[in-house]
Amino acid sequence: MKKPPRVLVAAVQSPFSGGGAERHVRRLTEELVARGIEADLIQIPLIERERFDLVRSALVWRSLDVTEFGGRAVDAVIATRFPSYAVRHPNKVVWIIHQYRQAYDQFGTPWSDFTASTEDRRTRETIEVIDRLGLSEARRVFANSRTVAARLRKYNGIASEPLYHPPPLAGRYRTGPLGDYALSVGRLEGWKRPDLPLRALAHAEMARLVMVGRGPEEGRLKRLARELGVEARVRWIPAADDETLLDLYAGARLVVVAPEGEDLGYVPLEAFLSGKPVLTTEDAGGPLEFVIDGRTGFVVPPRPEALGAALRLAWERDDALVALGRRGLARASELSWDATIGTLLAAAGLEVP
């Protein structure tokens, strides 16, 4: 019998935090194993204490040659986040979740702590070199979304193709009747702009909002809700387990997603798989690859009045919301792990056994 291909998934570890990116690479490994591939996950933490630690972490990856383990060849490596794609392997495919954004598109915004100092400048240049080297030697580069692919082209001149995948709880999302609240899910941090849905409430008196997530902005947001006089219409859920989250999606009226330049964002896909339309902003990035104005949701300028107007007008229009949600469901159902894994393996010259 022919031995199954051996594939390593290379990823960055964030000890003690267990964020979405880690769940994603674990899922990718599991999906490979489920299809009869001998797959395993290798992870090295990305240290960010000092500026130069970033480069050191990349060097660790670079110094590893994972061509074989235990006397048996590794057929392919699928590398994911910066700087895991610095790893050495002759058959390397990169599926980039996102670059080190603080050094690229977030530079000069409040979301990046890089300054114009010599050290920071050199670090940014080095990150560019690492990206260029690690990505250009790969057999094929995929990006998590069109938004990420566009950034790679703009900042590094590297061509890549978007490769989508289903959200984490795929297969478990359920639909339900339109509820009486708008839902916002995500870490409460600056660039995700959780303040936008809150401020929008002040322009839509009938709307209620459920905010799922915690983060550095939590205190400030609660203060803001009081100042705006909307706190009675907001429910805060700092942490929700899977089942609670599925219920919250299934029972929402619509879902609000208002980040600035998000890479992909599962929230729109999760909303669609729960049959709910999505309200998002023109500068949201990844969400715009799925949310089409008037087809699967609403796309408005990133201002509280605009989001508020959309909430106000859409709130009582059940038929329209149901129609939008149904089309969203159809769109999101097109994504499958079968197709994603097939594309990744084909790029590495392998087949699903």
Binding site: P110, W111, D113, G190, G294, A309, L313, A320
Partner: protein, 369 residues
């Protein structure tokens, strides 16, 4: 179901209108056109730089509050630098504004130029038509015989008006024919343009310094070509080619001509071309792509079109006339918006049948013995 989808579209439209109502006026005033994106590459960093007129501590940094306090105390140290930065920013902003004004002015000029060219061509056709109406009535005999270059179905000046209405502006044709330039460099003799029309290709060749002459059956077009200083004679292209000495030409081209001829004329034309072209020279014959339903849809819009010529047939005729190294190039793809969005192989197959390229060309060579 259909009604529900309309509801959703309608709601989205209402929201857009409402949002436009609350939009800040200056935002509405400059809706970004697609080609202003590169200016955004300048504008975005400038907007970010505005946030750094004086040093600030990003929220993401550790001990941000303490660091900000220290920063406030030390601010007097870089007052000069801060004013320098602010002045520089203002200057760059001024430059960007000037760039924008320039671009707007250029766009306006370009649109004026296009409109003027179109207008000129229209005037020529109209003047010729008026001249004809003033001199003689349209020939009545055309109804009995089938259409042919000698016996056109429409009075010439009416056809000139038709061309002006339905064919793209001269400049579009010019851009399209630029593709053929790669084939006509280093020819063993001058180029012969059969049915050169408004002389677009001859003008291209003149700019490239390639010797060429044309024959055109429409006296209106031929006159216009000569007025533009091109070497064009009025008459029948096949007869003119037959009078050319053997192996005296470097190339013969016929763009959108053979569909105006019966098959026998096409073959005679190719045979004469083979005789007149020197070894190493080439022939290029372009016509409507019969493999594309979208292109065929408009085929008989032109009343002087006799019969469509499929790629296989034209290739065969070229081969039979003695041309070698034959290739078929498909040209003038429909804009993406007019094709089906390709999400599967089936879409691609349907696109090829329904919305394939509008034209094709057979290119052949006279072998060097």
């Amino acid at each position: 179901m259909a009604a529900k989808e309309d509801l959703a579209e309608e709601l989205a439209r209402e929201i857009r209108d409402a949002v436009a109502g609350v939009a800040r006026p200056e935002k509405a005033a400059r809706a970004p056109a697609p080609d202003t994106v590169e200016l955004d590459d300048i504008r975005i960093p400038i907007r970010r730089a505005e946030g750094h007129r004086t040093p600030t501590i990003p929220q993401a940094v550790r001990f941000a509050r303490a660091k900000s306090a220290v920063l406030r105390m030390l601010r007097f140290l870089w007052r000069d630098q801060a004013s320098f930065n602010a002045l520089l920013l203002e200057a760059v902003n001024g430059v960007v504004a000037a760039l924008e004004r320039n671009r707007a002015a250029m766009e306006e000029l370009a649109s004026w130029r296009k409109a003027t060219e179109r207008h000129d061509a229209g005037q020529d056709a109209r003047i010729a038509h008026l001249e004809m109406l003033g001199t003689r009535p349209p020939a009545a005999s055309t109804a009995t015989a089938g259409p042919s270059p000698q016996n056109p179905p429409l009075p010439e000046s009416v056809y000139a008006l038709f061309e002006e209405r339905f064919r793209g502006p001269s400049t579009d044709v010019l851009e399209k024919q630029r593709f053929y330039l790669r084939y006509v460099r280093n020819l063993p003799g001058p180029l012969f343009d059969a049915g050169c029309g408004r002389g677009e290709f001859l003008r291209l060749l003149r700019d490239e310094g390639i010797a060429a002459r044309g024959v055109e059956s429409s006296s209106v077009s031929a006159r216009a070509c000569r007025a533009a200083g091109l070497d064009v004679t009025e008459g029948d292209a096949i007869e003119a080619l037959a009078e050319t000495p053997p192996a005296s030409l470097g190339a013969v081209v016929a763009f959108q001509v053979v569909e105006h001829w019966p098959a026998a004329s096409t073959f005679r034309f190719l045979a004469e071309a083979r005789r007149a072209i020197a070894p190493g020279g080439i022939v290029i014959v372009e016509t409507v792509n019969t493999d594309s339903l979208a292109a065929m849809n408009a085929f008989y819009l032109d009343p002087t079109h006799v019969r469509p010529v499929p790629p296989g047939a034209l290739r065969f005729l070229c081969d039979a006339a003695g041309f070698r190294d034959l290739s078929v190039e498909f040209l003038s793809p429909l804009p993406a918006g007019s094709r089906l969005e390709e999400r599967s192989d089936n879409d691609a197959r349907l696109n090829a049948i329904l919305f394939g390229p509008q034209d094709y060309a057979v290119i052949g060579r006279v072998p060097v013995p």
